[in-house]
């Protein structure tokens, strides 16, 4: 793919509202953060993280901003800093929080509101395909 084609694709991705496509750029930025999340698949690591979150995080090569986002459970921030939802959701599993809780946090509503939205058919695609739609 040429420079132009790639730039156009990235622009198109960025044009989708509220969506962080896990491109190579994104993946490189979030590598350490996601690897930390992956480590929570192991029971012994979950136990260690549970004992002292900050100390456990220091074993990975996170930026200060990423570390803070984890400690404060800033779900959207984690995505902005290169997190991928399948990875960052491992933290929610650790917290025994649901995907609806996290979905609500990321979109600025409560878990109950989020659940209600899903029960009534989900977030509408209309108006959510392109940032340009907002301007119409």
């Amino acid at each position: 793919m040429t420079k132009e084609e790639k730039a156009e694709l990235r622009k198109a991705f960025a044009d989708i509202p509220g969506t962080y496509v896990f491109t190579p750029e994104h993946s490189r930025k979030g590598y350490a953060l996601n690897i930390f999340c992956m480590s929570l698949n192991k029971a012994e690591n979950r136990a260690e993280f549970g004992k002292d979150e900050s100390a456990y995080l220091d074993k990975f090569d996170l930026t200060a901003e990423q570390k803070e986002a984890v400690l404060k459970r800033q779900w959207l921030k984690m995505l902005e800093l290169g997190g991928n939802i399948y990875y960052t959701f491992k933290i929610a599993i650790f917290d025994r929080k649901s995907m609806q809780h996290v979905g609500g946090k990321m979109s600025g509503i409560t878990e109950d509101e989020f659940k209600e939205m899903m029960l009534s058919g989900g977030r509408s695609i209309i108006g959510n395909r392109s940032k340009k739609e907002y301007e119409v």
Binding site: S27, N34, L76, L79, I85
Partner: protein, 327 residues
Amino acid sequence: MAKIIAGIGCSHVPAVGAASDHGKTEDGYWTPLFAALPAARKWIKDLAPDVLILVYNDHASAFSLELIPTFAIGVAQWFENADEGYGRRQIPNVEGHPELAWHITESCILDGFDLTIANKMDVDHGCSVPLTVFFGEPAAWPVKVIPICVNVIQYPPPTARRCYDLGKAIRKAVEEYDGELKVAIAGTGGMSHQLQGERSGVINTEFDVNYLDNLRDNNDVNRDRSHLEYIREAGSEGIELVMWQIMRGAMNEKVVEKFRKYHVASSNTAFGVICFENAPEEKSAAEIKAMKEPVLVEYANALGITAHVNDLKKDTLEKVLSKLGYS
């Protein structure tokens, strides 16, 4: 020779597995979904496939960013259920079919597909939830499984077109296998959903229903769609639908729909299941008119028409001729 006798598209929402594991299939939230499944379960039970090729994706369970295979095929005898952070699901482990899996591997690599060969691979909800959907809670899964794990998390996943072509290569391999086996193939994931970001929870029912219809009748539309369109229309995690194309590529150009359930929403996801069999050979009107009743009824059923020997033969004949555009 082995034969592909059935094709399945199936969402693999983890909450569906959890609902089954925790006995919640009959509470209000889950009833609409689980109440629809017996017909699908009967269909697969009657077909009794020996092997199920199960195309799914791993969700940061067996594979991390350290190593991301585009296509990994499981050739092992057993696959354990992964710990995804909750501890392992208390369901049977998955038994493989190394002989067919290796045959497919050899054939596909020689045909120019760059598979990663997995002798050791834990499988996560992507693989186990479709088993729950089709087989419930048995003490052991009633079918051997060849798991094919596709990267759809790290951009770029394989294109829909590439997935479709892999399906074709798999079918060729299956049909050249030295052994009598009935094989089903499932593409899983989807349908529309987005877990991440401010747009999380997005559902596109129109897109999903079109996807299902096109999958049956006009799949070129699905196959030629770009990643960008899938993500924009079906959500960032709806990209999983490219995996259904592997199933579709392994089926005849013409298929018959045997079951469909579409439900919004389970957890954050539009849940879809569709079951296909290959359409029977096309017959001329004269050939059909010459069929004896039991043969005609069987043929009608293969075409997706509900027919029975107790029906009037004339009615069944009319339905068949009409379905094929002869009247």
